[in-house]
Amino acid sequence: MSHSNYLIIGSSHAALSALEAIRIQDTEGSITLVTQEDTLPYSPTILPYVISGQIDPEQIFLRDAEALDRHRVTFKKGARVVAVDPANHSVSMDSGETLKYEKMLLATGAEPTLPPIPGVKDASCHVLRTLGDAVRLQSIAQKAKSAIILGAGLIGMHAAENLAKAGVQIAIVEALPRVLPGYFDEQAAGLVQQVFTEHGIKILTGSTVTHVTASNGTCTVSLESGGELSGDLLLVATGVRARMDYLAGSGIDIGEGIVVDDTMRTSSRDIWAAGDVAEARSFFGGKKRVNANLPNAVEQGRIAGMDMVGDSALKPFTGGIARNAYHFFGHRAFSVGLVGRAESAGGIEVDQVFLPSSVQYQKMVFEDDRLVAVSGVNTMLDPGIMYELVRQRVDLSEVKARFAAGPLQMGRILMSKIWG
Amino acid sequence: MARTIVCDGNEAAAWGVALSRPDMVAVYPITPQSSLAEYISQFVADGIIQADLMDVEGEHSVLSVLQGACLAGARTFTATCGQGLAFMFEPYFRTPPLRLPIVMSIVTRDGITPQCVWGGQQDAMTVREAGWVHMYCENNQEILDTVIMAYRIAEHRDVMLPVNVNHDGNYLSYGVEKVEIPDQEEVDAFLGEKNTNWHAALDPDRPMGVDPLTGGAGGLGPALFVRYRKGLCKGMQNALGVITEVHKEWEKTSGRSYAPLIEEYRLEDADYAIMTIGSMTGAGKDAVDAAREAGERIGLVKIKTFRPFPLQALREALRKVKAVGVVDRSVSFGWNFGPVYQELLSAMYFLNRHIPAVSFIGGLAGADITVDHFNRVIETTAMALHGEVFSEPVWLNENDQSPGSDRVSQ
């Protein structure tokens, strides 16, 4: 029976960050890295670019076999965990194998969910989460002329752009009133939508799908508004959920994800969780929730690894902050924090620049003289510096006017003075 | 073939050094040792001594460079006296507990003040508790022979202690006598392989911390310290047997025999005895001979080895006599007597032999101790034998009158 000092389930950003953190302190302990994928580790974020052909699927791996060897990692591909037995420090694999561990990290990420729309399950719809999905879509995209995408979140939008670049006619259906609702406000989303539309992508926001039918390789989507859309390809990108079905019966606390504390420990001894599967403290309000974005997975993975190995330099998680960077058709957008706070009351100040003609937008939200959210489209800001200003709750009362006038320069100056 | 030369005591010592093949000699001049430093230097210049000549800036460094060299594995020699020895005292005191088998001549000299450059044993006697082996020579041949023997004693595994070969400033340092110089091969065979640092080395091939802090308020530290101290005492006691054995061996090699610890002279049927140390012994023996001729049953005990103190060797000698007069060439200020006398009193207690003893102090500041002086010693000791009690020392030169006649020029 395999026995590891450290067992890591998953092989994407959170898992790899934990692995690195462990190896800094413990160069000897045995590490087993398990993935249900049949490939070397990769990032789901890269997958849309596989579809367009911008990147060769062979070139996307975050670690090659040699690097894993160098870290003396036992790498198990194509192995799916089906059950966890915390009392015996063991997990069961789909192959029937049992793996023993001393400490375990669950970094199993998220999986797509299908909306409860009649016909979706029967239609041969696609999702985009794995390399297999992406390669399949890429091959179909070469033949397909048109595609319908359900959901205008990051996955849907990324996929739309990349399918469009592959020459496919795209229609996106989004139930909410704007695209990228999780990250951008109305103005920013409007600019994104404008650019997509200019590139021939049809976007139907505020549209609910009533049912889906498929026949002869064509999917037809019926809308509540009465219209219908048809395409050679249907991609469902309406949402994801934490992949934690294997925890059934384990006794480990779960909510929308695996509940963890500020060092990524689950309710069970010697088990940690990080990344898109983890439900950790939010920076704002402190409520626990899944904050599924890539930088967050990296950070949580590092914290989990450091805690697993007992690294005394560990600083606990300061809470998840929504953040993302988004590049579309040569434009760039990013967001940090709660951009939707503008509508809230009390102590809130908003500084906005909106130049739709040049596709530019910048919004900064302050609460009690501290930056709580920034988003921008085609602005020259350093997103990482803005994130730190939010996370460190930097008091801007002395410099707010100068900051508002020149956030790029002032951000760099504050960085130099405070943490640079 | 051994050859015979005529030389003073300092040159005799230098020949002893040459024959012992040291790796390093260190010199710093001081009267009356200076000519010894010069002989050594000249011998190195002439290739007679094939050693590093460390012409350093003071006696303190003299002994310091030798300690370093010795810890690296060198056989070493130097000589000093008087203020030089005083200045050297800091490393001097440290040489025995480091168990470094350094050989050093003390060409004994009286201590200042009054300012004085002449002979006396105040220097060597003052450092008698520092842990060095002290041997006093009676004549130039004995100086040469004892320097050679000193290496065998110092480097003996059971001893591993530094040795002072002492000879009287002025009287031996400058006095010329016939001296036989043994063959180098004989000396090489006698001394064998050198052994200076098997126990404590400063050698990257055998890295160790030499002389870490040892002690503290309790526990291991002080216990270790006691171990080192007892080890030194044991080495010192072992030296008594080793000195005796080495003298016997040297007799086999050279044909010359010396009393290793003490010499008994005409003691067999003696009622009383005088006790001497160093070069005064010749005059003492002459006085004893004369007294014998006059019918006195008198003998003489010469101390050769003063450290370690030859307690058991004195047992026999003291059993034979009923009174002793001890002639010191130095002063024990705290006891108001001579130091050798003082030590004899201690010995008598240990040997359970309680006989009258008189302290004589003479030969200070270069003064000669003449046969006349010894006659006084014998007469006074005879008075003690017959019951008179002397609670004060007799200062032999106290009433010397004619300046110059009994002084030795510098």
Partner: protein, 451 residues
């Protein structure tokens, strides 16, 4: 053991915002001088006038690298550079969100992110800066050069927090290596257990306590014997200022005059720290010590320090230098020369060794105290090579800070009145003038054979 890498240091007070670094960077990377292509970004605080830099730090544990979903960013183990493989980059910009330093930025012309690539190891920005505001710091070369060698000093010794001597010993022994005999006379260094306690030692080379008075003499004896038997063993002293300038001066002077082959390092903490902070002849004027106390009558030491290093220049030494651990590269360079010089004769290094405990300053300020000492000219860094017969300043301070900038950091100078500070300033200025006389340009040459 890992590697350490060079970095680009920025000195804001030397920057005048000329932007030549920015233009040079843009030109090197794009062929045009358009600042949009520059990886180095200079910002000015309009209110304070000061300049700030945003530039990739080539972090040891970069946040950008693990945040790249394409595996396009890598920390190069050989050069330390965080490199961007543009063929893999999909311009997702997540790296710009991960970096807290503004070190990786979006180029609106190429629509790609860009970052400093160190220009193949020879950054053009550094060369372009006319005011020395950018410096390529290769202090890490020391680590790369010697980091793989064994630390010959055990961990866990009982030195005070922030002890300069420990820093000094570890570096020195690592560089000089195990074929060495170390002498360290009574003082802080054996006091922390360097030679050992009760039968165990803290040093992996042969090491011993000489007397406080005879360090140089004992080493001379050892070295001479090794020469005699044909072994090349390095003699190294770590002696305090007391064992060097006071009671050990005679034996040092003699050994130097005789040309004894050794590296003699005086660890000058300006007094007898190990015995409770008493004055020595290198205690500076005005300094409080427990034997130059501050009261209504006395105001600290009333005499100036003995110029020990300069005295050694007049001592037939092969090499004499002053050093300060804040300037580690400078020290290593000097150690290098000392090792060579000690094959011919005496190499003497006078190490300024601030003592947090005895001088009354926080341990965290050790390096800053060293820096200020040098930048005020209180501790000029120079070296003397017998062959050159002159002194060279190794870290010339053209525009020295007032001595107060140094004195105010240290508790032992707290009591100084204006007159005393003025005295120290005057003496500091005079000392530099004296030293300058011995430089190549000066009118005095310390000619050994003239003595």
């Amino acid at each position: 053991m890992g590697k350490s890498y060079p970095t680009i240091a920025f000195y804001p007070d030397r920057c005048d915002g000329c932007n030549q670094c920015v233009e040079a960077c843009a030109e090197f990377h794009s062929g045009t001088r358009n600042p949009a292509h520059s990886r180095i970004k200079v910002s000015q605080d309009g209110e304070e006038g000061a300049f700030f830099l945003a530039l990739c730090r080539q972090c040891g544990e970069p946040r950008c690298v693990p945040s790249c979903p394409a595996g396009a960013l890598k920390k190069d183990i050989d050069t330390g550079v965080v490199s961007l493989d543009e063929s893999k980059c999909v311009s997702c910009q997540l790296c710009t969100l991960a970096c807290p330093y503004g070190g990786i930025t979006y180029n609106p012309i190429t629509h790609q992110v860009m970052k400093c690539d160190f220009c193949d190891g020879d950054p053009v920005c550094v060369k372009a800066c006319p005011r020395g505001a950018l410096e390529l710091k290769t202090g890490s070369d020391i680590y790369n050069g010697w980091g793989d060698l064994e630390d010959l000093f055990v961990p866990g010794i009982s030195a005070c927090q922030g002890c300069n001597s420990e820093l000094l010993i570890r570096h020195t022994l690592r560089r000089i290596g195990p074929n060495t005999v170390v002498a360290t006379p009574p003082g802080c260094i054996p006091g922390v257990g360097a030679v050992g306690f009760n039968g165990v030692t803290a040093t992996k080379t042969p090491i011993f306590h000489p007397l406080l008075t005879n360090t140089a003499a004992m080493l001379a004896g050892i070295r001479r014997y090794y020469n005699r038997i044909g072994r090349d063993v390095t003699m190294l002293a770590f002696a305090g200022d007391g064992g060097t300038a006071d009671v050990g001066f005679q034996s040092l002077s003699g050994a130097a005059e005789r040309g004894e082959q050794m590296i003699y390092i005086c660890v000058d903490n300006e007094g007898y720290m190990n015995t409770g902070v008493q004055r020595s002849s290198t205690t500076p004027y005005g300094a409080w010590t427990s034997t130059t106390p501050v009261g209504t009558v006395l105001r600290g030491k009333s005499r100036d320090a003995k110029p020990m290093a300069l005295l050694m220049v007049m001592h037939n030494c092969e090499y004499v230098a002053t050093a300060c651990m804040t300037f580690m590269e400078d020290y290593y360079a000097k150690l290098e020369k000392a090792v060579e010089a000690a094959k011919r004769g005496m190499a003497y290094i006078h190490v300024f060794s601030p003592c947090p405990t005895g001088w009354r300053f926080p341990p965290s300020k050790l390096i800053e105290v060293g820096r200020k000492a040098v930048e005020t000219n209180m501790v000029p860094l120079w070296e003397y090579e017998a062959e050159a017969r002159c002194i060279d300043f190794t870290h010339p301070v053209e525009d020295p800070l007032p001595v107060k900038a140094y004195l105010s950091l240290i508790g032992k100078y707290n009591h100084l009145d204006e007159e005393q500070v003025a005295h120290i300033q005057r003496k500091t200025d005079e000392r530099i003038e004296t030293l300058k006389k011995f430089t190549r340009e000066g009118d005095v040459k310390p000619i050994q054979d003239a003595a």
